[in-house]
């Protein structure tokens, strides 16, 4: 009854960006994921957003630093031109600290909001700053699916690559809320992964991936602390896949998406 996919959801990974607690970039993360370095959790280190003009750089919030840092690392790793790359930003939430400040103020009698706080409250604020800073007029997508946000981002980014034949930068990231929202959504810290995905193999290609949906159970991380990270941060549902990538292993791996749907990736290192 179900029609089979008519086009393969296939792409080549040209560049990777990564930030998580205790793993400030892809170089450290890949050493940890290869087992060359023990994982030690530590507060996430967020790079200075050098893309932004100095005034905005000082005001940039944690989630903007996270998203811009991830994107820049992946673009540099790929040797890509950020000003022409279509983007897909994928996150469970927007800026949690900004949201808390708005809700706190709206619960008082003085409801006159700061205009900057308001425009920074949109889910696509980090994406907007990226577009302005890179002067990129290509399409920019911003998706979310709560704990399934990584899968939602992968699905649309891969689909864009196949449908347009153009490269796409996927930035999947999540950030923390302060209390009292933290008690209701306990994402512990900022973390995320960025991938530059291309429709054709090039000299920069690190691996070829193919995506399909499945109902098979997701892979877990053998390391207890990394498994905890995988479960705590939606974007870190990518860890089993990133471990294959770091180790240069080929094969398939299932990632958590949206029950009963899961995402299976076939990986072939280049």
């Amino acid at each position: 009854m179900s029609a089979q996919p008519v086009l393969k959801m296939q792409a080549w990974i040209d560049g990777i960006g990564f930030i998580a607690p205790g793993m400030p970039d892809w170089a450290v993360a890949s050493a940890v994921l290869r087992g060359e370095q023990a994982y030690a959790s530590a507060p996430s280190v967020l790079p200075v957003p050098t893309l932004l003009p100095s005034a905005e750089r000082r005001r940039a919030s944690r989630v903007i630093k996270l998203a811009l840092g991830l994107g820049l690392e992946a673009v540099a790793h790929a040797g890509a031109d950020a000003s022409t790359l279509a983007t897909v930003f994928s996150a469970s939430g927007a800026d949690g600290h900004n949201c808390h400040a708005l809700c706190e103020q709206l619960a008082t009698d003085d409801r006159q909001l700061s205009p900057t706080r308001f425009h920074n409250s949109v889910h696509n604020a980090a994406a907007g700053y990226w577009g302005i800073a890179t002067r990129c007029m290509a399409p920019c997508q911003v998706v979310g699916a709560f704990d399934a946000s990584l899968g939602a981002g992968l699905l649309d980014a891969m689909a864009q690559v196949v449908c347009t034949g153009e490269s796409v930068l996927l930035v999947a990231y999540d950030s923390e809320y302060p209390q009292p929202l933290f008690a209701k959504r306990d994402t512990p810290d900022c973390a995320g992964v960025a991938l530059v995905l291309s429709a054709q193999p090039s000299k920069n290609a690190k691996a070829e991936i193919q995506l399909r949906t499945t109902r098979a159970p997701a892979a877990a991380m053998a390391d207890v602390a990394l498994e905890q990270l995988r479960q705590q941060v939606p974007a870190m549902r990518a860890l089993p896949f990133l471990q294959r990538l770091a180790r240069g292993e080929s094969g398939s791996v299932v990632l958590d998406y949206l029950a009963p749907q899961q995402i299976e990736l076939d990986i072939t290192p280049c």
Partner: protein, 396 residues
């Protein structure tokens, strides 16, 4: 990727629940706007509120999703037999072969705003009944709709401010093209909340009067709420007269977080991309439903972009004087207004607009009229410089 058929569609706005109520109001050129009396908000502004949202009851087993926004989702899904059409598609294709792609800007954040007034005086904790994932989170409406409709396929929320529920059509079209799904529920839902009412006021973008799109005296928007949905399926076998999705174009301004590019460069790119996706030229479009928020900057920039792409011949207007600006729901709601115009052979009027700004050189339709429409274009632009244009047509 295109065309795809809109095998079913519906909308719920301040003009009423379902196609017929909205059709009649648009025909009478009636505005659904009223002075703001929402919750405890004391702002000199007008709103487009949907009657009856607060009395909607969600099914008991979906109680964790209860909030004004999801009540509006349910109201929207129940209109015009839309939910039944989706269930029929699910039994035809399989529950995991029908995706859900919904746009929103604020989802159920009103629930959080209200919960912040009920914090524990000792600990500051939010009340136990507050469910972040079911109400506040941007995905809450898609999660609720997916469960309400009994679907098991892929789902995502798109949240690019006021272009959100236009962009869902493109995201769904890509997945159908790839064969990962056979059909998709696309749409958008946004509901009134304190963040957007006070937020747009802080930017001095709300008018103290009902909004007047493209009028020389326009001085801001009127915030509305609403729900728009469509069921997208492959074009094969669509009977004559079916409304078809012919193309979607997306672009970014790369200019400013809350102001459009002054010449509307990004807006024009989106329109050009939509025409290209549809394999059409400007002369093929019979009506343009403008973003037309009635802020001075939006209408000036959009007017310039539309004039540059289409000249001053194509009839166009904004229906936000009737519905208010429904933010993340506007793309889907205005797509459905275009679908009704195509079905009825009648373009809608533009309540609130007395005269066209003489600085803007467009064929602005102040009033509705019978017109043999074959293809329409609808614009949706959002904060962060997110632009989307959508072309609908009729199956010959």
């Amino acid at each position: 990727m295109y065309p795809l058929q809109l095998s079913s569609f519906t909308l719920t706005t301040c003009l009423g629940q379902g196609l017929q109520a909205n059709r009649e109001a648009l025909r009478e050129e009636r505005s659904g706007l009223k002075p703001c009396d929402f919750e405890s908000v004391e702002l000199e502004t007008w709103i487009g509120a949907v009657d009856g949202v607060d009395t909607v009851q969600l099914p008991a087993h979906l109680g964790r999703f209860d909030c004004r926004n999801n009540r509006l989702v349910q109201m929207g899904l129940q209109a015009d037999g839309f939910a039944e059409q989706v269930k029929r598609a699910a039994s035809r294709y399989g529950a995991d072969r029908v995706g859900v792609f919904l746009g929103t800007s604020t989802a159920g954040i009103l629930q959080t705003e209200l919960a912040y007034r009920r914090r524990d005086p000792e600990t500051g904790a939010l009340p136990a009944d507050f469910d972040y994932g079911g109400s506040h989170n941007a995905f809450s409406l898609a999660a609720f709709a997916r469960e309400y409709l009994g679907l098991e396929g892929m789902a995502m929320a798109i949240s690019t401010a006021c272009s959100s529920s236009a962009k869902v059509f493109a995201a769904a079209a890509r997945q159908i093209a790839l064969g990962t799904i056979d059909a998709a529920v696309v749409g958008g839902v946004d509901s009134l909340c304190l963040t957007t009412l006070h937020g747009f006021a802080s930017l001095q973008l709300t008018s103290a009067q009902p909004c007047r799109p493209y009028d020389p005296s326009r001085d801001g928007l009127s915030i509305g709420e609403g729900a728009g949905f469509a069921l997208l399926e492959r074009a094969g076998g669509a009977p004559a007269g079916t409304v078809m999705l012919l193309g979607v174009g997306e672009s970014s301004d790369a200019h400013h977080m809350s102001a459009p590019h002054p010449q509307g460069l990004g807006a024009r790119l989106a329109m050009t991309a939509a025409l290209k996706a549809a394999g059409l030229v400007a002369a093929d479009i019979d009506y343009i439903n403008l973003h037309g928020t009635a802020t001075p900057a939006n209408d000036a920039a959009e007017g310039m972009a539309v004039a540059a792409e289409f000249g001053n011949c194509v009839p166009c207007n904004s229906t936000k004087g009737a519905t208010g600006h429904t933010l993340g729901a506007a793309g889907a709601i205005e797509a459905v207004i275009c679908a009704m115009a195509l079905n009825d052979g009648r373009l809608p009027g533009s309540p609130g607009t007395q005269q066209l700004d003489p600085e803007i050189d467009l064929n602005y339709a102040h009033h509705g009229s019978e017109a043999p429409l074959k293809r329409t274009l609808s614009n949706s632009f959002g904060f962060g410089g997110s632009n989307c244009s959508m072309i609908l047509g009729v199956q010959a």
